[in-house]
Symmetry: C2
């Protein structure tokens, strides 16, 4: 198990979690690792680690729940209603409900980011 539990504290080592293919229609070259969610009893907010390979992108998406994002490594583009915005390591993003969004890696190195769904 990738998580060690000391009574009520949950620690999840991201290196020990499996990278799954993010198999959404319209997405390409994206892997996702589950960090925090229902298995730890987090019912309202998830935490996932995404890796977008060179030339890869998520699907253009829009939904009721909010997103919080933080760029760990690499560079890319956030495509939204208002156009494209470059993303750099250390950038935090808040996407309110129903915000149109797509994460694109138009650079050579992998784009790695944390993403939370706020239900």
């Amino acid at each position: 198990l990738p998580e060690s539990e000391t009574k009520d504290v949950f620690i999840i080592r991201s290196e020990a979690t499996q990278a799954e293919n993010f198999a959404r229609s319209g997405a390409s070259g994206v892997k996702v690792q589950q960090l925090v969610g229902e298995p730890q009893g987090s019912k309202r907010v998830t935490l996932r680690l995404y890796t977008v390979g060179k030339g890869g992108h998520t699907n253009l998406d829009q939904h009721e729940y909010e997103h919080q994002m933080y760029v760990l490594k690499g560079h890319g583009t956030l495509r939204g209603k208002g156009g494209d915005t470059p993303l750099h390591p250390g950038d935090a993003v808040f996407l309110p409900a129903n915000t149109l969004h797509q994460f694109i890696n138009d650079h050579d190195d992998p784009l790695v980011y944390l993403l939370s769904n706020i239900m």
Copy 2:
């Protein structure tokens, strides 16, 4: 302003935010940078960046709201009811409501982590 808004998307460059002293009773050597919260309309979840210097620590804390944490850099210790657990870069932590917790930097390099309050 450290945030650039393209219509409904909020991007906050963490380098452009100010590091404030985390002036809690029982805390020592801790700086905090506000990334996401009420200014962006995020009412239920915050995102803050903490830097704990060598020998520093947060206050031993316990509260109703949940925490989500992710270690960006450095090493430290999470002290809880069940004892001490080492923290490494890439570790995600979920602290359910009312979990006793303290973040301690018992290493030489700064301990840098993201922390969300889930209200």
